[in-house]
């Protein structure tokens, strides 16, 4: 039986691919700090956050009114997360990855032709972010790093709930929010 490709599925797949190519799949930085420092894991999440900032700008361009305001606010939160985690990477003795020019991320994002497309992309993006933070929790051992990752992971889940709500769905649809990779 041939696989069925829904528009939503294509957008979701595109989101995962876009993020992988934009930073989420970046290798650990050269000179990635001492073994077990957490620098490589944190750097990967910083790269993902930089991509998320660019993605949310693209998402916001397709939204209007309160939804556009929410997109701006979430984009600002992602930038704060990137800054906060970059400090932790520096504290581990490594230079954190820098954001690339927005124009370098844009070609790998899915083509968004409507607000509905934008919200599908946003949902998949946030799912991917939630997953990244929860995976980070498992491999990090420093208490300060883990606290930051847990706090931001919860904030990412909130932003995912906002996306659900903007799409007209229940903000909290399921009992266990695991994210998707």
């Amino acid at each position: 039986m041939s696989p069925r490709f829904t528009r939503r599925g294509v957008l979701g797949g595109a989101a995962a691919l876009a993020l992988a190519s934009c930073g989420g799949g970046d290798p650990a930085p050269a000179g990635g700090g001492r073994a077990g420092s957490g620098a490589a894991t944190l750097s990967s999440i910083v790269a993902l956050e930089h991509a998320a900032v660019a993605a949310w700008a693209t998402i916001g361009d397709r939204l209007t009114g309160d939804a556009a305001g929410s997109a701006r606010a979430i984009r600002g939160r992602q930038a704060e997360h990137a800054n906060e985690l970059s400090k932790l990477v520096r504290a581990a003795g490594v230079a954190p990855p820098s954001a690339r020019a927005a124009s370098s991320y844009a070609p790998s994002f899915p083509r968004l032709t409507s607000a509905a497309d934008a919200l599908h992309f946003a949902r998949d993006l946030q799912e991917r972010l939630v997953r990244a933070y929860f995976e980070g929790l498992v491999v990090l051992h420093d208490a300060g790093q883990r606290r930051a990752i847990a706090e931001i992971g919860a904030a990412q889940a909130e932003d995912l709930a906002v996306v659900h709500s903007l799409a007209g769905d229940p903000a909290a649809p399921q009992a266990f929010v695991t994210g998707t990779s």
Binding site: S70, R146, A154, A157, D159, A171, A172, V177
Partner: protein
């Protein structure tokens, strides 16, 4: 490493709450939330569809944490009576939503505390997934209050 440092490390480990202690504490928060949503539904202090959904989640969280406690070799404290709802405002839907937002935030903060020092890697992601649901409950309740979601 000197003997003194080894001793200090051992003392610090002994002083830190065990994973089972942490899960038992989280179970207390979840049972209180479960009791809160059940009481709110009974008193019409929450929209029925929303209340049923959030209560259903809390049932699943309680079941999951009880199972986690079992996995950690400890039987969960038996819930012989519903958890206390003292201090929760059931005067109306907005009043309850405001109370419940605070309860959910306390629970999320407790999960962050637990995850900071949790040792059993197999339970980290399940606990995080419940924490994330709590964070989403906050958003659902802020909608009731008409508060900006972000």
């Amino acid at each position: 490493m000197t003997a003194t440092r080894l001793l200090l490390a051992a003392l610090a480990k002994a002083a830190a709450p065990s994973d089972a202690d942490a899960v038992a504490r989280l179970l207390g928060f979840e049972r209180r939330l479960e009791a809160a949503y059940a009481a709110a539904l009974a008193r019409d202090a929450i929209d029925p569809a929303l209340g049923r959904r959030l209560l259903g989640h809390e049932h699943e969280h309680v079941r999951g944490l009880e199972q986690a406690l079992g996995d950690l070799g400890r039987r969960g404290p038996r819930a012989t009576a519903p958890a206390s709802t003292v201090g929760i405002d059931f005067a109306g839907r907005r009043a309850f939503a405001a109370s419940a937002v605070q309860l959910e935030r306390q629970a999320v903060d407790a999960y962050v505390d637990a995850l900071t020092s949790f040792r059993d890697d197999h339970l980290v992601q399940p606990l995080a997934s419940i924490m994330a649901c709590g964070a989403q409950h906050e958003v659902a309740l802020r909608e009731v209050l008409g508060i900006r979601l972000v």
